[in-house]
């Protein structure tokens, strides 16, 4: 919205600041000046007025804000028109069909007018604004709208057949509008009509047939109040967003109708002609009661201070937000304040009869001081501020005019911080994954149907996927039921950009259930791909990434106290999901309940997605993990005695896996066996098919004594016997 400072100063001749200061002061009070452009006379302000402040979307409204800020008088609006009396006032009625939609209708007959170009203020201001001049009659209406915000319309009186009727349209009724288009109306379109036909779409646009032309001699000026919802409906239906509909949709000023009408009439009459008869003014009391005559609200200065607190201008124990300041601000904004501390007339009369001293000098004095600075007010609200409804609305106005930046910076007493139940677990998981070399990522909350079909299989009924009513795109038609599609997308994006070393994790929510009840669960995904795979003993280069994921999962789980101890975490290559390569994937289980899956993405999918190197994925149910307490460590005493290492080199058939080897050794129940690890696994499928060689390292230590050579020899032979019994052959 464009505002001329020259026009503002027309309403506020005593404005004491320059235009730039005015722009800043208005902006800091919520009347935002977004741009300031110099003109030959003053400046042009580009304004951004919030939708709740429709009253400030015109020059007079902004001048009122400035008057409030600087505590200045505002030039009153209005015009006195000397009318020639008539015995037959022009007939205007509001049809019963429109009683709730047209709250007020004013009409003024002007006779013998001259249609000519505008001059004076209109010409000056329109030139500065870049507003096109049309004719004095049309310009008068536009000038009034820009000036004080109320839409008006001028009819060529001689084109009207009979009096004015405001009514609902007939379904299918035709109306040619000022823009030259013919509209077919619906039965809930509100129209201004004469006795024969519709002559305007009420509050939106006037009709073509009754428009002002150079030949027009007699005019009917309309200024009315229409129901916001009704105007919005018609404006949308006919795709006509006009200045008038914009204002009426947001709630026009009920009391502005006569003023606007008089202003337009006066402007037209400056080129000649006269008014005939007094202003015709039809009001609907029921609508007045909801707008201009709505009941006032109570305001207490104590409440103002309670909500707003300390200001920079507060004196010791004395708020700067005084009763006087409250009165000054609200009065300037158009409110009428009455002291609610003051007794009503009836109460005062009773007091008078009861108090023998009434009329004495002291009683008079106290009465005056009470009137000057009461704590409680009854506030009658201005007709143009329908956004003011409650005490808090007035408190906001006081804060706004006082200036937000004139309040002090105080701090409330602090509270006691309670840690969120999963915060520590989440932080521990995050810290551990970062330490393991996985970087943190965030992927899309949504998934495509095809990705969901591929990567998600409901484990139980009632764990379906959740569709979006208005998806962002086809690829985002579902809420993600798993984090895997997002992780695959991030890994492929990296590979497509020739980034070959990627380790990522995402802690995020997945969504399953039904569209009636959605279950969100905390999940973790891990993604890994490497262009330079390196063997990490005892794993081959090709297998190392899978064991890195396994290690990450073991490391994460080790942060928690497992029911059943560390042995509760087990791994199985059984029942792994279809998107992982069979034989190169595993299920991680806590007490035989699946906690997650990991492994290599299937070759088929890798090829389909044109991935240049294998990618490795893991998903883990954090909800299950977070249900466990974090591990609390009890330190054990360290042994003072020497530890002894013994290595065993064996050839085993492929059917003997590591867990069989460990079970066999652990079955010997050697208390002094401190650790047991595979140091090297070596296969040569061509030379030695069906077997592999394994180097096992054992460490023995006692907490109580130095180990004797004989016992070490004995354990050594026991282990060799146990491993031989498994089918192993000791290597020389």
């Amino acid at each position: 919205m464009k505002i001329l400072t020259a026009w503002l100063r027309h309403y506020l001749p005593a404005l004491p600041v320059d235009d730039l200061q005015l722009a800043e002061d208005l902006t800091l009070r919520g009347i935002a000046v977004e741009g300031v452009h110099p003109l030959s006379q003053g400046h042009l302000f580009e304004m951004d007025i919030t939708t709740n402040r429709v009253d400030a979307m015109n020059h007079y409204g902004i001048a009122r804000e400035a008057a409030t800020i600087y505590n200045l008088p505002l030039v009153p609006l209005g015009a006195n028109i000397a009318a020639i009396p008539t015995i037959a006032p022009f007939p205007v009625r509001i049809d019963s069909s429109a009683e709730t939609l047209c709250g007020r209708f004013t009409a003024q007959v002007l006779r013998n007018v001259t249609i000519a170009p505008s001059d004076g203020l209109i010409a000056d201001f329109f030139a500065l604004l870049g507003q096109k001049q049309i004719s004095n009659a049309v310009d008068a209406s536009n000038f009034t709208l820009l000036g004080m915000g109320h839409p008006t319309h001028a009819f060529d009186l001689d084109k009207l057949e009979g009096g004015i009727v405001v009514r609902l349209a007939y379904k299918g009724e035709k109306l040619k509008l000022l823009d030259g288009t013919e509209r077919t109306l619906e039965a809930d379109d509100l129209v201004v009509a004469d006795e024969k036909k519709a002559v305007g779409l009420a509050g939106v646009m006037g009709g073509w047939d009754s428009m002002i032309t150079p030949e027009t001699r007699n005019i009917l000026v309309e200024a009315a109040w229409f129901d916001p919802a009704s105007i919005r409906r018609s404006s949308r239906r006919h795709l006509l967003h006009t200045d008038a509909s914009h204002r009426f949709e947001r709630g026009a000023d009920f009391n502005a109708c006569p003023t606007a009408n008089a202003l337009v009439s006066q402007l037209i009459l400056t080129a000649g002609g006269h008014a005939e008869g007094a202003l015709i003014d039809i009001t609907q009391p029921a609508i007045a009661a909801k707008t201009s005559a709505r009941s006032g609200i109570a305001l207490s200065v104590q409440q103002v201070q309670r909500h707003l607190g300390t200001t920079l201008d507060d004196a010791e124990g004395e708020s700067a937000l005084t009763s006087e300041l409250v009165q000054q601000y609200l009065t300037a904004l158009g409110c009428t304040l009455a002291s609610a501390d003051q007794p009503t007339e009836a109460e005062a009369l009773t007091a008078l009869n009861e108090d023998p001293q009434i009329g004495g000098p002291s009683a008079v004095a106290s009465h005056i001081s009470e009137t000057d600075s009461p704590d409680s007010f009854h506030v009658q609200l201005p007709s143009w501020r329908l956004d003011l409804e409650r005490e808090i609305d007035l408190i906001e106005e006081i804060a706004r005019v006082y200036g937000y930046n004139h309040f002090a910076n105080t701090l409330p007493t602090p509270g006691i911080v309670i840690a969120h139940p999963t915060a520590a677990a989440e932080a521990a998981v995050r810290t551990r994954l970062l330490a393991l070399g996985f970087s943190e990522a965030i992927s899309s909350t949504f998934a495509s149907q095809s990705d969901s079909d591929l990567f998600y299989a409901p484990a139980a009924p009632g764990q379906g996927t959740i569709a979006m009513e208005n998806p962002l795109s086809e690829e985002a038609s579902l809420l993600r039921p798993t984090l895997i599609p997002g992780m695959v997308a991030m890994l492929s994006n990296n590979l497509n950009r020739d980034v070959k070393e990627v380790r990522l994790f995402e802690q995020g929510h997945t969504f399953t259930g039904s569209t009636a009840a959605v279950t969100e669960s905390a999940q973790l995904s891990l993604g890994l791909t490497t262009g330079t795979p390196q063997a990490t003993a005892p794993h081959s280069a090709a297998d190392a990434p899978i064991f890195e994921l396994k290690g990450a999962i073991e490391s994460l789980v080790s942060l928690f106290t497992l029911p059943g101890g560390p042995a509760a975490l087990t791994f199985s290559t059984e029942s792994t999901p279809a998107w992982l390569q069979q034989g190169r994937a595993a299920t991680a289980m806590l007490n035989n309940v699946a906690l997650g899956y990991f492994g290599e993405l299937t070759q088929a999918e890798t090829q389909k997605r044109k991935l240049r190197q294998p990618i490795f994925l893991a998903q883990l149910d954090l909800t299950a993990l977070y249900a466990l307490p974090l591990k609390r460590v009890t330190a054990r005493d360290l042994s003072r005695f020497q530890a002894v290492e013994r290595d065993f080199s064996f050839v085993f058939p492929d059917s003997i896996q590591w867990h069989t080897v460990t079970s066999a050794i652990q079955a010997l129940a050697i208390l002094e066996l401190q650790s047991l690890a595979p140091i090297e696994v070596w296969r040569d499928k061509k030379k030695y098919p069906g077997v592999y060689s394994l180097l096992v390292r054992t460490v023995f230590q006692s907490h109580h004594r130095t180990l004797r050579e004989e016992e070490l020899t004995q354990w050594h032979s026991q282990i060799i016997a146990a491993l031989t019994q498994l089918g192993g052959t000791i290597r020389a």
């Binding site: 909500h307 409650r390 937000y404 910076n409 701090l411 965030i442 009636a516």
Partner: protein, 365 residues
């Protein structure tokens, strides 16, 4: 190995002094990295150099010179033993290949914390220090928590599918039960107040969604941190002081704040907060569009209608009403984490946050 036995011609003091100084120098310069070899060389019982030299010199020494010779050999023996005891006194410089220290260092690469989540944690930490506890809530919310209880009128544009992502099949459900992706973390304010009475001091980090077209500065997925402080006697100046402190804690103590009237359905009075530009200090630059200020967050005093909706729901759940606007006031604030992280790190495209692109993340290692 077996150096020649030095000849001693004169046994006068200066000659002895010179001869023993040469021997002492020989001990000092000897390689002690193999202490056993050194010991054998000097102190060996049969072929030790000390024995050989002392035998040779004592044999031909005049009688009167034997005593001073004995004393000097004893001193030399002590020097040899001291050299033996000094552990690795002389590094074997010559034997070791030098390093090229100009080659790059190596390290086990740690993972990189996400810059957005790091910023989010920093913001949350500031409020933890001010006595706020973290609270979280679901991303799929009902209309009641996301809009109705927050005083959004029924026809508010935010409720439209143009702005809000809605779960399928909601048309037949009562308006307040309809499920949608929360458009802000404010529903957690409502959930918390229904759950617990005042005082409330919570900070709410989380992911939110809007039906926005993605561009360099907008994303349909983004993150917010909101806060809520409700108690008796919470004032607008408390809101100002809290956010002024928080912005100084986040952006440095030189940062100034500026409050503007604004409009949100769930707060009144409402304000937008700007901070003085962290790049130019307020003088004006390209980053602040030459205004000297950067708009950063929205806030306000909790609207009494929100307290009323909370108490209504508390009563419906069989709890005591606890948020009478006559006794209780509060403030709420909210900020977009993406915007703050983009300002902090000069990130030009919001899409980088959700790409998992290692080239982007590695900058924050």
């Amino acid at each position: 190995m077996n150096e020649a036995i030095p000849q001693l011609v004169n046994y006068d003091e200066p000659s002895l002094e010179a001869a023993f100084a040469t021997l002492a120098e020989e001990v000092r310069a000897a390689d002690t990295t193999d202490p056993e070899a050194f010991r054998l060389h000097w102190l060996g019982r049969k072929q030790g150099r000390l024995k050989l030299v002392s035998e040779a010199w004592l044999k031909s020494a005049p009688a009167e010179a034997r005593k001073p010779l004995g004393i000097r050999f004893n001193q030399l023996k002590q020097q040899i033993e001291a050299a033996l005891e000094a552990p690795a006194a002389k590094p074997a410089v010559a034997a070791v290949q030098g390093i090229d220290i100009s080659l790059p260092g190596t390290f086990r690469a740690p993972g990189i914390p996400h810059p957005l989540l790091k910023t989010m944690q920093e913001i949350v930490a500031v409020f933890h220090h001010l006595g706020y506890s973290t609270n979280l809530g679901p991303q799929v919310e009902s209309d009641f928590y996301n809009f109705e209880a927050l005083n959004f009128p029924p026809n508010h544009p935010a409720r439209d599918t143009q702005d809000t992502l809605v779960i399928a099949n909601q048309q037949t459900r009562p308006s307040r039960d309809r499920l949608l992706m929360r458009t802000h973390t404010s529903p957690v304010q409502i959930r918390t107040m229904i759950e617990q009475g005042p005082p409330v001091r919570i900070v709410i980090p989380g992911k939110v969604h809007r039906n926005d077209a993605a561009d360099a500065t907008h994303s349909p997925i983004f993150h917010q941190v909101e806060g809520l402080c409700v108690d008796t006697n919470i004032t607008f100046s408390d809101l100002k002081g809290t956010l002024d402190h928080a912005m100084k804690a986040l952006f440095g103590s030189d940062v100034k704040t500026r409050f503007f009237p604004s409009f949100f359905p769930f707060t009144e009075p409402s304000a937008d907060v700007q901070i003085s530009c962290i790049f130019c200090g307020g003088k004006g630059c390209r980053k602040c569009k030459h205004s000297g200020w950067i708009e950063l967050l929205g806030c306000g005093m909790v609207d009494p209608a929100v307290f009323a909706a909370v108490d209504e729901q508390r009563i419906a759940q069989g709890k005591e009403p606890a948020y009478s606007p006559e006794k209780i006031t509060g403030f709420a604030f909210g900020m977009g984490v993406e915007r703050i992280a983009m300002i902090q790190h000069g990130i030009s495209d919001i899409g980088h946050f959700y790409s998992g692109d290692m080239r982007f993340l590695e900058q924050f290692a």
